[in-house]
Structure formats: structure tokens, C-alpha cells
């Protein structure tokens, strides 16, 4: 069990999860990256950057 970095909801990871796997938070829909298995840690998955300057 781990908490979503975006919304704080609990996430159950599959048993066979691997490092760098991208998973979705079912509550808020954000993509998270499994950055470490021991200890288990997730972070916000990297996003393609766009230039929003207008």
C-alpha cells in the first residue's frame, strides 16, 4: 500500500510491479512512476514538457 503523490489516496500496487513502471491512481487519474521497490516509493511520472507561453 502506498499513497498517491497527487491526491493522497491509497494505491494498491500489483505484486509483480517493477521499478520504473508507470501506474495510474484510480482516484485522481494521475500517472505515477515506481521509482524504488525497497523501500517502495512512487513519484509523479515525467510529462512531456510544452511551451505554454502565449
Amino acid at each position: 500500500m502506498i499513497k498517491c503523490k497527487e491526491c493522497g489516496s491509497e494505491i494498491v500496487l500489483p505484486n509483480d510491479v517493477v521499478e520504473n513502471e508507470i501506474i495510474d491512481c484510480e482516484a485522481c487519474g494521475i500517472e505515477l512512476e515506481v521509482v524504488s521497490l525497497d523501500p517502495l516509493e512512487v513519484d509523479l511520472a515525467p510529462e512531456e514538457q510544452e511551451d505554454w507561453g502565449e
Binding site: 497527487e6 493522497g8 489516496s9 482516484a27 487519474g29 494521475i30 512531456e48 510544452e50
Partner: protein
């Protein structure tokens, strides 16, 4: 599923047409009459051409209105209250889409509408038809007042916040499509005048503010402000809501407040994404649907909570919400006739 008869009074306008579009494809409703004094005896599809070959109904004069199981009133402000007892005699369930019975306090009609309400005792019998706030009351209601479109776009995103956190100041800035002004024409709706505008038409004291105050700020403890603008859209309302809170907070708290309030709601969609073009609510994405999209962001420098909402003013802001309320009051599935997926691109 048992079937029910329905009629629409004032069905030549945009909300009346939208109601008809929804009701004609509803599995439990037979639309038996649609009225228009001005267009009596003319085919409905002449005014609502999207309904060609879908219905052969003709408008009838309101005096010929039959008794029905559910009666919708899609009339301009002031018209429903004039004949409400007549309408109540024609149906056990009356759903009014105008502002005539939305406010509990009759004095608000003087303040915001500049007139005394002719039937103040009836106000307490009407239920404010916002299912996300008053679902159980609507199930039992026989008189329902559908909220204003800009009020819906503000109340849904703000309600969970004012219930959970201490709020000092709220400023709602709404961008409103032209169909919200109705099918009537005047100089401000004339194409050369309307096209391309970002027109601030009521920076303070807008009528829908009364509903927002009633549902969100009944004790008056919050400084509540609303400023709408007419913009270059036919359908849609985009509200940007600036909220200043008493205490510091984290975005995660806001997420949890919204998830708790709306995770199970069929017509509320939380939108806050980190990538893509549409990272926050967008009227184009809800066009033709009964959805209200809600998104937010914390301004880390000032603490301001910026909330965005998007609705289709004719759907969640009027006809869609009315059908949702009817479904509850008649015992249908709440989503019956409203399972529309939006278009992309539009």
C-alpha cells in the same frame, strides 16, 4: 419500466428545444404536448430543425394544455409565477426552469429581481433542483425549481470547499455562451455586436448571485462576488473561481474534499491533469452532455485556491439538470436519457 406523459410549456426557446431533444429519446417518457402561444399549430421541427424526422409534434396554444404526469415550464422570468396554480392543476409534478421559484426568501426577489413575488407562500414548497446537493428531497418533490446556469457552474465546485474549509473571500468570474441569453433577440445579440466580444454585462449584483448566496453562504460570513462575461461561444460556461482561505492547505486536501463529495456522482468529472492540451475543465469537452467538470490549482505564492468549472448551459445548466431531477422524482435511473458522450473535436 412504466411510462409517463410529459408536456413542455414554452417549448420554442432554446431550453425548451433541448428538453424536447432529451425527452424524445427517454425510454420512459411520451411527450404529448409542447406549447407556444406565438407558434401554435406549427411543426416543432420548424423551430428546432435538429428534431426533423424525430417528431411530428406541433406546438399548441397553452390554453389547450392537457393533464400530464410531468410538466416542464421553460418560460421567461416572471411568466411561470403568473399562472403557476393553473400549471399545478395540470400535473402532479411541475419542473420550472425559470428563476421564479428558486429562492426561499421572497425578499430576495425584491433585491435581485426588482419585484415582489406574487406567491411567496409557494416558495417553500419548491425544491432547489440541484441533485448533487438535494437528491433525497428531489425524489419526494412535486414542485422543483431548476437552478440558473451560472449558479450551477459556481455552486457545484464551491459547495464542498465551503463545507470543509474556512473561507474569507470568493470571486467567481464566468465566461458565458450566447445561448444562455435565450432565443429572444435584441441589439446585444445582433451578430455584428455579439461576435468577438468579451463583454462584461453585469459585473456586480447579477441575479444568479442570490442563488449562490442561498446555497453557499446563507449566514453571509463569506464575501461572495460574481462577475459574468458574454463571450464567443454558443454553448458553454467556464467559471474561474478565486477562493481565499483562512488557513493554509495542501492540494491533496482539496483532492480529498472533492473525491469524497463527487467520486460517485454520475455527472461531475474532476479534471486536473499534468499533460495534454485540456488539463483543466473546458466547455468544449462537455458540450451536449450533462457533465460539470471541476478542476483546481493552488497558487503557491499567495495561497489563492483557483477552481475552474465547465458546463453546457443548456444541459447541466438547464434541460439536462431538469431531466436528471425528473428521473429522481419519477423513480427512473438518474442517468436515463442523459448518457451522452461529448464530441471531440468540436
Amino acid at each position: 419500466m412504466s411510462r409517463h406523459t410529459a408536456a413542455i410549456v414554452g417549448s420554442s426557446g432554446y431550453t425548451g428545444g433541448e428538453l424536447l431533444r432529451l425527452l424524445l429519446s427517454h425510454s420512459g417518457i411520451d411527450v404529448v404536448a409542447v406549447t407556444s402561444r406565438k407558434r401554435a399549430k406549427r411543426p416543432v421541427a420548424r423551430i428546432h430543425p435538429n428534431l426533423r424526422d424525430i417528431t411530428r409534434l406541433k406546438f399548441i396554444d397553452p390554453v389547450d394544455l392537457p393533464e400530464v404526469d410531468v410538466l416542464f415550464l421553460a418560460l421567461p422570468h416572471g411568466a411561470a409565477m403568473e399562472n403557476i396554480h393553473e400549471y399545478m392543476s395540470r400535473s402532479k409534478l411541475v419542473i420550472d426552469l425559470s428563476s421564479d421559484f428558486r429562492l426561499n426568501d421572497s425578499s430576495s426577489y425584491v433585491t435581485y429581481y426588482g419585484q415582489k413575488h406574487p406567491d411567496p407562500d409557494l416558495l417553500e414548497q419548491f425544491v432547489y433542483g440541484l441533485p448533487e446537493l438535494h437528491r433525497e428531497t428531489i425524489r419526494e418533490a412535486r414542485l422543483i425549481a431548476i437552478p440558473g446556469c451560472t449558479a450551477t457552474g459556481a455552486i457545484l465546485p464551491i459547495k464542498p470547499i465551503v463545507e470543509a474549509l474556512r473561507v474569507n473571500l470568493i470571486v467567481v468570474d464566468a465566461k458565458v455562451g450566447s445561448s444562455a441569453a435565450g432565443a429572444g433577440v435584441n441589439m446585444s445579440t445582433h451578430h455584428p455586436e455579439r461576435s468577438g466580444v468579451v463583454r462584461s454585462y453585469k459585473p456586480s449584483g447579477h441575479r444568479h448571485l442570490a442563488e449562490m448566496q442561498q446555497e453557499l453562504n446563507s449566514n453571509g460570513s463569506i464575501s461572495f462576488n460574481f462577475s459574468p462575461h458574454a463571450v464567443e461561444m454558443v454553448r458553454g460556461i467556464q467559471s474561474t473561481i478565486h477562493i481565499f482561505l483562512e488557513d493554509d492547505y495542501e492540494e491533496k486536501e482539496i483532492w480529498q474534499i472533492y473525491l469524497q463529495a463527487y467520486r460517485e456522482e454520475p455527472f461531475v468529472r474532476l479534471v486536473k491533469e499534468r499533460g495534454g492540451i485540456y488539463r483543466f475543465p473546458e466547455p468544449k469537452m462537455v458540450m451536449g452532455t450533462n457533465l460539470c467538470e471541476i478542476g483546481f490549482e493552488k497558487d503557491e505564492k499567495t495561497g489563492r485556491l483557483v477552481i475552474m468549472s465547465a458546463i453546457d448551459n443548456l444541459m447541466k445548466g438547464a434541460a439536462g439538470q431538469a431531466v436528471q431531477c425528473m428521473n429522481l422524482a419519477l423513480g427512473f435511473e438518474e442517468t436515463e436519457g442523459l448518457n451522452v458522450v461529448g464530441y471531440h473535436p468540436v
